[in-house]
């Protein structure tokens, strides 16, 4: 079953193949500094022992004030287009992006939420079960940076504490340059550290850092998924007598039924 997944290669765009761990944007505000995949993850991928990770979708939720460019950012990444006209997102929208990370297919489901206050009650219903939360703000509007706290709090409220990766993304980088940009970034990084988030500056208009950013998101989410899967499987194996306890003469020590029973017991 696992080996049959590999022929799906053509469906993954060559741009979405990740073989080495993508680097952070700035070491001053990042989630982890290492430049390689976790040894266990790498080994599991080499053996093709990644369980159901290759089949699952990891949920990414993008939140932030209206008109900061959440939709533009996603569209730049997923469709490689940029629309100069503003069109408010109604409720929520989503895109699915396929990756191939260290030879394992992996998908991100990127949820684009409406920034308008009136849609909050609809959009917030989609926060649950996120593996990655991206809080976006406008680099040219410091007010939007200040609002990211509130957005993050609301998004985290719907999720298990500590289960999400948080990113803080400053958009419209093309509109700033020099000292103003540095100033804004310093402030944003400060907040990112406070929120335990990784900071990125991007521009949907020019496409600067967009691909790198989402690759980073995908790699981190993927690594976490694989590690969780390995942990779950190892703990499931340890739990509940899996037939090892009893060795009747003449009968095989482990039958598929007993295994299924043990897997039932873990839930």
């Amino acid at each position: 079953m696992r080996s049959s997944l590999t022929p799906l290669g053509p469906t993954v765009n060559r741009d979405r193949i990740i073989t080495s761990f993508p680097k952070w944007y700035t070491p001053n505000a990042c989630l982890q500094l290492k430049e390689h995949f976790h040894g266990q993850v790498h080994a599991a991928c080499q053996r093709g022992n990644t369980g159901t990770v290759g089949l699952s979708l990891s949920k990414v939720v993008v939140v932030g004030d209206l008109y900061v460019g959440k939709t533009s950012l996603i569209h730049r990444f997923c469709k490689n287009v940029f629309d100069h006209d503003y069109k408010a997102t109604i409720g929520v929208d989503f895109e699915i992006e396929r990756f191939e990370i260290v030879g394992i297919p992996y998908s991100l489901q990127i949820w684009d939420t409406a920034g308008q206050e009136k849609f909050k009650c609809i959009a917030s219903a989609y926060y649950r079960g996120a593996q990655v939360i991206i809080t976006a703000f406008d680099l040219t509007d410091m007010q939007t940076l200040e609002h990211t706290r509130q957005w993050l709090e609301e998004a985290l409220r719907e999720n298990e504490p500590g289960s999400c990766f948080v990113f803080l993304v400053g958009t419209k980088k093309d509109l700033l340059s020099g000292a103003a940009c540095v100033q804004a970034e310093v402030e944003a990084m400060h907040l990112a550290n406070e929120m335990q988030a990784e900071y990125w500056s991007v521009s949907a208009k020019t496409g600067e850092n967009v691909k790198a950013f989402f690759s980073r998101v995908a790699a981190l989410a993927f690594e976490q998924s694989v590690l969780r899967d390995l942990e779950r499987r190892s703990s499931a194996r340890l739990q509940v007598g899996n037939g090892d306890l009893i060795r009747m003469e003449g009968g095989p020590p482990q039958t598929p039924e007993s295994k299924r029973l043990s897997s039932l017991g873990c839930c």
Binding site: M1, S4, L5, P7, L8, P10, T11, T52, L55, S56, L57, I90, G91, V92, D93, F94, I96, R98, Q109, C121, I122, A125, Y126, R128, G129, V240, G241, L245, I246, M248, R260, L261, S263, L264, G265, C267
Partner: protein, 403 residues
Amino acid sequence: MEEDRGPALPAESALEKNVAELTVMDVYDIASLVGHEFERVIDQHGCEAIARLMPKVVRVLEILEVLVSRHHVAPELDELRLELDRLRLERMDRIEKERKHQKELELVEDVWRGEAQDLLSQIAQLQEENKQLLTNLSHKDVSFSEEEFQKHEGMSERERQVMKKLKEVVDKQRDEIRAKDRELGLKNEDIEALQQQQTRLMKINHDLRHRITVVEAQGKSLIEQKVELEAELQTREQEMGSLRAELGKLRERLPRGHSENGEEEPETEPGGEECVSEADKAAMDPKDPNRPRFTLQELRDVLHERNELKSKVFLLQEELAYYKSEEIEEESRILQPPPMAHPRLSPQPESGIKRLFSFFSRDKKRLANAQRIVHIQESCGQWANSHRDDGYTEQGQEALQHL
């Protein structure tokens, strides 16, 4: 000195002695006396006076000495002769005694011989008797005791065999008992393990039952809600119908000035709103073409529908891309050697054999693709009903495990 002191007395005693008792020593004494006398004569008359006499005297004395010495041997001989006689007598006595002893011995011997003869005869008699008895005994043995003896021996041997057998049986049984004990221990362990498993299963069962009851309760409440909602809907529809009828009447009565209103009302405007609240009516200008028309629930439903449709589009796009790539791949395979890096550049019709061979790999791919699609549909199902998330993922995981 001797001559000076003693010559007077021994010489004189020697001269006065009996002739028979004279000894050589006496002769010497006499000689010394004679010498003394000669010395006196010499002193008086000189040497010439006895010169002639002296050798003769010496000669006489020498003869005397010889004679005296001869005479002295004779008495020793006599003594010896006497001793000899005595010894002869003694010997005679002893011989006689020996003879007597021998006689006595002979007598004793005779007595002993007689006794020995008696004893020998007795022995012979006894031997004969013994022989007789032995023969008697042997006769009897042949008849009786031998059989008994044999019987006795046979019994003991049989007993020994029985004992051996019994011992073997005991040993075997001991071994068996030990084996059974061991088996018993193992069985006990098994039982314990089974009991543990049973308790675990019971626990799981209990949990599952609990869950089922909860789910059932939820289902019941949902059904009830649904029924209620349906009833409500029906009443609303009835209300709406009556209101519409009223509206139609009102419109007929009103002059036909509100032409826009007439266009919109039948489509979307909920008729109830007008009557239900005056405040709402005031807030929303019915003439504003951009005024809100959808309720929150309607918007949610629309979004949900949109999401579902979008996910379907995604899947269809993927499928399409997959089949396209497959086609291209197959086509590219015909172009030998296949440049795998640029499969899109080689579109060519495929041969029947190729199609046959590609069948296997295509089947595999299709299966994998189908799995992905199934999973995506599952995850799409989660969007609207976020409260059912856990159930869906669980099911999905289990389904995947079974695959």
